[in-house]
């Protein structure tokens, strides 16, 4: 190590290491002055078969549809009937009611862990509505909106969260790590961005078989730093896979701001350009913009025009999870200072402005959904909550490790059953 200590060359300025720092910290006023917000409606809409090189600006711009008055403006405004938009709003309100209830359930000790998607309801729900029902989703952990938008039973979500006797995943997975093949929802991994190349493989298989289904996947801006992200984009580009990559840029990866994933230098949508992948940067709090962008990408994929990368520019309004307290690392009022508003309020304002909705109906719906979630919770509790009772037969711990149980697991299962009899006598 001695030569590391050598005298710096006197005629050169010393090197310095840049360690990113967010614009504001606890005690500071929130600062989003670095965020450039384009006006709604100004971004052109290229044809779905455009050459990625001809639409590079879209990786640095911001597709927005809803303006400050709630009008849907510009070429990206999707032609959706009022009924569909009300359904979109209902799903978004349902997921928010669900999150609130499950957060409280965790605080009440009914489960170990929960993750809300508050402020990001417009990321998963409009995207799912823009996909076909049998398209396959490879989500990260904050896209519970996919299941909600595909009408997965709330009680089954809660059974999973409580790891109880009716848990469809037999108590094996951390709460919210759902899986439902029937709903086109791939099993969530706790290891980040592993789902990205898997989604590409699914899309490649679909293409190789001459199927018409496509795949969509989601990760956070922080985990774009994982190797799997780059492997996935490489494979998708090489094989022209019918896939939609979604990067949910909610500004924070637990306590690390987006600068630690490279966000100080460029946009996350621009990650696609180096791979020759079409890239869109979208107002992630604008439900209609997310719907339109996803529809564009889905149409592109389904017609063999290849993959699309969509950055959803949004904000994580709450902690990373129930195990996190953001007051320890970011300015307290960021949530209210966030310049793109609340996705539910913005869609509501649009429907109200167009005469398709009103405050009374909104409040009535909120109450209805709150009651619905509460009832589902009560029903799920009949199957038990985490830590109260042995909800799954011991044998289930050893099943599904392999298709058939090998001798060594059989022996260990017998050991576990013997321990059970000693610890919990009948």
């Amino acid at each position: 190590m001695a030569d590391r200590q050598s005298t710096p060359k006197s005629n050169l300025a010393p090197l310095s290491l840049h360690v990113p720092e967010p614009p504001s910290r606890p005690g500071d006023a929130p600062d989003f002055s670095h965020v450039e917000i384009l006006k709604a409606g100004v971004t052109p809409r290229p044809a779905e078969d455009s050459d990625p090189a001809a639409m590079r600006d879209h990786a640095y711009g911001l597709v927005r549809v809803l303006d400050d008055d709630g009008a849907a403006v510009g070429p990206w405004a999707p032609k959706l009937d009022a009924e569909t938009k009300r359904r979109m709003l209902k799903y978004m309100l349902r997921v928010r009611a669900f999150d609130d209830r499950m957060y409280r359930a965790q605080r009440q000790g009914k489960t170990s862990f929960y993750m809300k998607c508050t402020g990001e309801e417009a990321v998963a729900i409009p995207a799912t509505m823009a996909l076909d029902r049998d398209d396959m989703c490879f989500p990260s952990y904050r896209q519970q909106g996919i299941l909600i938008a595909r009408d997965y039973p709330l009680i089954d979500m809660i059974n999973q969260i409580y790891s109880n006797s009716a848990d469809p995943l037999k108590g094996r997975q951390l709460p919210i790590m759902y899986s439902s093949r029937e709903h086109g929802f791939f099993s969530i991994s706790g290891n980040l961005t592993t789902q990205y190349p898997q989604a590409v493989g699914y899309a490649m298989a679909s293409a190789a078989k001459g199927d018409t289904r496509i795949a969509a996947t989601w990760c956070g801006e922080g985990s774009t730093a994982e190797g799997d992200f780059h492997a996935a984009l490489t494979f998708a580009a090489v094989y022209n896979a019918p896939i939609i990559f979604n990067i949910v840029n909610n500004q924070w990866a637990i306590s690390s701001f987006s600068g630690f994933a490279g966000g100080e230098r460029t946009t996350f949508a621009a990650r696609g350009l180096g791979y020759g992948i079409a890239a869109l940067r979208v107002d992630g709090n604008d439900a209609l913009a997310v719907y339109a962008a996803t529809r564009w990408a889905a149409d592109r994929a389904r017609t063999n025009k290849g993959p699309t990368l969509i950055e959803h520019f949004t904000y994580r309004s709450e902690g990373h999870s129930t195990s996190d307290d953001p007051s320890g690392y970011r300015a307290a009022d960021e949530k209210t200072a966030w310049p793109l508003g609340d996705p539910i309020e913005r869609l509501k304002a649009h429907l109200v402005a167009s005469g398709e909705w009103d405050d009374d109906r909104h409040e009535a719906l909120r109450t209805e959904l709150s009651d619905e979630v509460k009832a589902a919770g009560k029903e799920a509790e009949k199957n038990g909550v985490l830590g109260h009772g042995l909800h799954q037969p011991f044998e289930t711990m050893f099943e599904d490790v392999y298709a058939d149980m090998p001798w060594h697991l059989r022996e260990q299962m017998e050991q576990a059953l013997a321990e059970k009899d000693a610890k919990w006598p009948k």
Partner: protein, 353 residues
Amino acid sequence: MAEVKPLDAKPAEAKAPKGMNMIEAINSALDTMLDRDPDVVILGEDVGYFGGVFRATAGLQEKHGKTRVFDSPISENGIIGVAVGMGAYGLRPVPEIQFADYIYPGLDQIVSEAARIRYRSVGQFIAPMTIRSPYGGGIFGGQTHSQSPESLFTHMSGVKTVIPSTPYDAKGLLIAAIECDDPVVFFEPKRIYNGPFDGHYDRPVQPWAKHPASDVPKDYYRIELGKANIVRVGEAVTVLAYGTMVHVALAVVEELGIDAEVIDLRSLVPLDIEAIETSVRKTGRCMIVHEATRTSGFGAELSALVQERCFYHLEAPVIRVTGFDTPYPHSLEWAYFPGPIRIKTALEKILKD
């Protein structure tokens, strides 16, 4: 129960053409499965047009088409990750990792994903993939083309680990692995791709054609995973080995004229514990031979199992013959390799104890 199929005996099902080497047998297994199952696909670095750096996939793209046998980017996490997704769709991918030494970037996708997807999704999704990869040394490959990382995988629940030692076994085991609904790591001992190896690197290379196990049926057959093969019946000591070391150990035993029982494990997980127990109870002695590094190698697991289950039948401590706990050296390869001298010394010790 284990098969008793001495290596010098003609396989029962054997038919013409005679004389496949291990590469040809693997190629034949892949060809057979591509024919039989439209969901089988092969991907990996250089496996397509060129047919693989060891030629294991030669001619398969031409015969079965580019959407079933294709080259991949140089990205092991991508190769395995994509194969997980293909399995979720319903395909039965057979990814090749060009050298076992290159498998580490794909480890997370194997261990956290492929090996766990059945469990965490309660069988909604499975990963019925077979990861083929040449492993082991003896070819002057240096530290990045010689390693034996099998114990990384035997340590992980949810994945099976299979290692053939002959062309006949390679085809039958590979077909069984591809048909298996669990992820299988299929390590191919590259030193014996072209001929068996007695451990004497300075002697002329023997081709497989002279070996009875090169008599590989052209058609479909399978060897059940988890069944060991007793390649030499004996009374004095049980020798547990797999891959290249089966041949090296057998040669030493024959040269010394020791009445050893030599067992080719063929599959590490699942393990044929019955064959091991039966043999050790008979011989009272157990020697384990593997090329991998010693500490936490699969030999440690075998030794513990034998001690736990056969202690009162043992007449001597279980002994391990392994590679050293160093990176695989280039110029000192034959000093590193657990060859005839190391095996002979251990055999003499265990028979004296």
